[in-house]
């Protein structure tokens, strides 16, 4: 090789740091609860939210006690009775359009806050999360005055007060998935973001003030599991929507049973990403990467089980390793970062434990060559090859950047293995043959099936699971059904 570079010791691939500036944020030292349109003090002991990439404290966050939950539900009830239910659909839509535009205006700020608090790379919060948040509000704003056409018969009714509990993996996007359809359908909301990622929701509260949304229509309360429990079990709540772990979802299903509350659950997953030998191979490798390493694998619909046809197994795994070696792990605010930080020490411990079990059970472990920063919570992209269907890592949701590789020989075997899980949230199929994709998709028990792509979301497309992945659908016309009842039934 000839000498051509200015300084031969420098690699072109050593991209100079390109951090997104934090100066756009105007963070407060401490945040209260957003109840009745105002920030109020919480009566519980406040907690700190930290940046998972540096372990530095970002802000102090109020902790909602049962008393605060009461106040939030009462504010939502009052807003429902006095204002929101009386507004026309077109007027509700106006507020939603206004929120969507404000999200776009403050997109950079929201993206920086999200990456800071959650640890996800800025390129994802900037190019995926925040644009989708705006898209969700725009989409449901359009539905607000067209509920007669939602497929629920004429003049469907709002349910009342919705209690919503959301996870830490897509803090702002999950908030949008919950709030947008609820408001479009005419409900008022009390929402609790996860305790490790409250920041973007609190900035969103400022957006609601800016939008002049009537007080109490959306209340945002922060706290841990007990706050969520008090919220979903509150007697004056008509609807419970939860996204999170299957264990908590199961507990909520039990405690709300017989209460008359309408319930939707979006829980865990262990999705199969099926690669046939006639797949567009380079794009399939990209899809596998996007399927499991997007958002550090903190995705309920992540393609965590790679099912690859035996005759292309070696080639796919080799190409995958080459590709993973180009991923950049590090500062979530750097625009060139591909893999950010794990959201919390607790989650990191879980990923480590499950990975160690995988190794002990005989799977072949391969880790991408990344330099791990000294501070913060990090886990390098990892592949387990020769995983058997009985392995723990092929059955349990790891919720981290860990891919289990299994093989199959025939489409029937691929389908059987893909369905052989208590979950059923999503699946992916890679093949150049359209008829094969349709035939296989027909047999898969999963709520969302991607063909020759993975982890693509659109507000018009319903999302949700089978079996232990939950019930109810979010997004699209189907997402409205979770927040409406047919006229004369169940409405308060």
């Amino acid at each position: 090789m000839t000498e051509i570079s200015t300084s031969p010791t420098h690699s072109f691939l050593d991209y100079a740091p390109a951090p997104e500036s934090k100066s756009i944020l105007h963070l407060k030292k401490s945040y209260g609860l957003f109840i009745g349109g105002e920030f109020v003090k919480g009566s519980g002991k406040p907690f700190l939210t930290v940046s998972p990439s540096t372990e530095e404290t970002i802000a102090e966050i109020a902790n909602a006690s049962a008393k605060d939950v009461d106040a939030a539900v009462a504010a939502a009830r009052k807003a429902y009775d006095s204002t929101w239910r009386k507004l026309s659909g077109a007027d509700r839509g106006k507020y939603l359009f206004r929120i969507a535009r404000l999200v776009q205006e403050r997109a950079r700020e929201l993206a920086v806050a999200e990456s800071l608090d959650n640890g996800k790379p800025i390129k994802e919060s900037r190019d995926v999360d925040v644009p989708l948040v705006a898209a969700w509000f725009f989409y449901y704003a359009g539905w607000a005055d067209k509920l007669d056409y939602a497929g629920l018969g004429p003049n469907p009714k709002a349910l009342g007060v919705a209690a919503q509990v959301i996870p830490w993996n897509f803090p702002l996007l999950m908030l949008a998935w919950k709030i947008a359809p609820a408001l479009a359908a005419g409900n008022t909301v009390v929402i609790k973001p996860a305790e490790t990622t409250p920041l973007s929701a609190l900035i969103f509260a400022e957006i609601l003030q800016q939008a002049d949304l009537p007080a109490g229509v959306v209340n945002i309360i922060t706290g841990a599991g007990d706050t969520g429990e008090a919220l979903v079990n509150h007697p004056d709540v008509n609807k419970v929507a939860f996204t999170g772990s299957t264990a908590v979802g199961r507990a909520i299903a039990k405690s709300t049973a017989g209460s008359g509350k309408k319930l939707t659950l979006e829980l865990g997953g262990k999705a199969a990403n099926i690669v046939f030998d006639d797949a567009p191979i380079d794009q399939a490798v990209e899809g596998i990467v996007n399927g499991i390493f997007f958002n550090q694998g903190h995705v309920c619909c992540a393609g965590s089980r790679l099912l690859v046809q035996e005759n292309v197994h070696e080639e796919v795994v080799e190409r995958l390793k080459t590709r993973l070696a180009t991923l950049r792990l590090g500062d979530p605010l750097d625009k060139n970062t591909d893999i950010g930080a794990i959201n919390s020490r607790e989650q990191l411990d879980r990923i480590r434990t499950l990975s160690d079990i995988g190794e002990k059970e005989g799977a072949e472990r391969w880790t991408a060559p990344c330099v791990i920063p000294d501070k913060g919570f990090w886990f390098a992209p990892t592949i387990f090859d020769n995983v058997s269907t009985s392995s723990t890592i092929a059955r349990e949701e790891i919720f981290g950047p860990v891919l289990s590789v299994l093989t199959f020989r025939t489409p029937a075997e691929a389908i059987a293995k893909a369905n052989n899980t208590p979950y059923g949230l999503s699946a992916g199929i890679w093949s150049d043959k359209g008829s094969k994709i349709l035939a296989v998709a027909d047999e898969l028990r999963a709520g969302v099936i991607w063909a020759n792509t993975f982890n693509r979301f659109d507000p018009a497309s319903p999302f949700g699971g089978y079996k232990e992945s939950g019930y109810g659908r979010e997004g699209g016309r189907h997402g409205l059904a979770a927040y409406l009842s047919s006229a004369g039934w169940g409405a308060k």
Partner: protein, 337 residues
């Protein structure tokens, strides 16, 4: 299978090595049509993703110099004159008179009849770009359409080589390719490669222009790339610059995947040249990122990657001046060639 197509194709070392010594139209077709498909949406998504890399400060400075070293400074006009070519050569040798630290471009690219003027103007600076010298590339084979008899194409090529061209940019017969006559396209590339042979037994480097804007599908681009490599091309090049669309990032990404795969298979490195339509430093940097993250950064070498461009150089010079002086100047602060 007709008798004609059962005829053995011209022997080309690479094709024989990969497909076997009984190289026929049929065996070639089976190989090309057996390549995995390309998913257009996924390919374009990946290219867009590579395009979001943020190359700043020191990385940007190095990238700009790298771009200059990889440029084939081009003039391919019917109105070209010896004077125009001399002016182009002067620009190639001294891109920015206000800054002597500016590197030289890799080559000048001209029509065959302009080669003697380019060679003369370069004088002692004529030679291998890896040694800081400048090569002369000539377009040949009835560029840009390729619509001439093989006899004419070969004469065109031999003429340019005899005049001192170091590199030949040939066009493939797109009509034959689209009609499925892969063997004909293959044989022509082999014959042109043979016409690149100099008296001393060495060869001018052969760049094979696929004219991807006329091939229309990514599957075709992949097949044509393999075909050109199997027939002996040293470089695969996207476009003539006379057909829109010319070079695009997804097409270049796809061609880089082919040369990466060829290297994985054989250990041999083939060059890639996107040409036409790359006018800004910002776009060119996206190509560098795509090269480094797909084929590997060893491809950022004038023997393995080139930009076919004319106006790109001045934009890079303006960006370079901005980095050194801290302010933007205007188009009158760089020379027109």
């Amino acid at each position: 299978m007709t008798l004609e197509s059962a005829q053995a194709l011209a022997p080309a070392e690479r094709a024989v090595g990969l497909i076997g010594s009984d190289l026929t139209e049929k065996s070639l077709r089976l190989h090309l049509e057996g390549l995995p498909g390309v998913d257009a949406v996924g390919l374009e998504q990946r290219a867009a993703g590579l395009g979001t890399r943020s190359i700043k400060t020191t990385s940007k400075a190095r990238a700009l110099d790298t771009i200059i070293r990889l440029i084939d400074l081009t003039t391919l006009e019917g109105a070209d004159t010896p004077g125009k070519v001399r002016s182009l050569v002067a620009k190639a040798m001294n891109p920015d008179p206000s800054d002597p630290s500016t590197p030289r471009v890799a080559a000048v690219c001209v029509y065959g009849d302009m080669v003697p003027y380019a060679v003369e103007a370069l004088g002692a600076s004529h030679g291998d770009p890896a040694k800081g010298l400048i090569s002369v590339a000539a377009v040949a084979t009835a560029f840009p359409s390729g619509r001439a008899s093989l006899h004419v194409k070969l004469a065109d090529t031999a003429d340019a080589v005899a005049n001192g061209a170091d590199e030949i940019d040939m066009v493939i017969d797109r009509g034959a390719f689209l009609a499925g006559n892969y063997g004909l396209v293959f044989d022509q590339i082999v014959a042109v490669k043979d016409a690149c042979r100099r008296e001393d037994g060495s060869y001018a480097h052969l760049k094979v222009i696929l004219e991807t804007g006329e091939l229309n599908t990514y599957d075709n681009v992949r097949r044509a790339s393999w075909l050109a490599i199997l027939a002996g091309g040293d470089f695969i090049k996207t476009s003539t610059g006379k057909v829109a669309p010319a070079a695009t990032l997804p097409v270049t990404l796809l061609m880089l995947e082919v040369v990466r795969d060829w290297h994985r298979l054989t250990g041999e490195r083939i060059g890639v040249k996107p040409a036409g339509g790359i006018r800004s430093s910002k776009d060119a940097i996206k190509y560098l990122v795509t090269v480094a993250e797909t084929a590997g950064e060893e491809w950022l070498d004038p023997h393995l990657f080139r930009f076919g461009a004319s106006s790109l150089l001045n934009d890079v010079l303006l960006q370079r001046q901005k980095l050194t002086t801290g302010r933007y100047s205007g188009p009158d602060y760089v020379t027109i060639d």
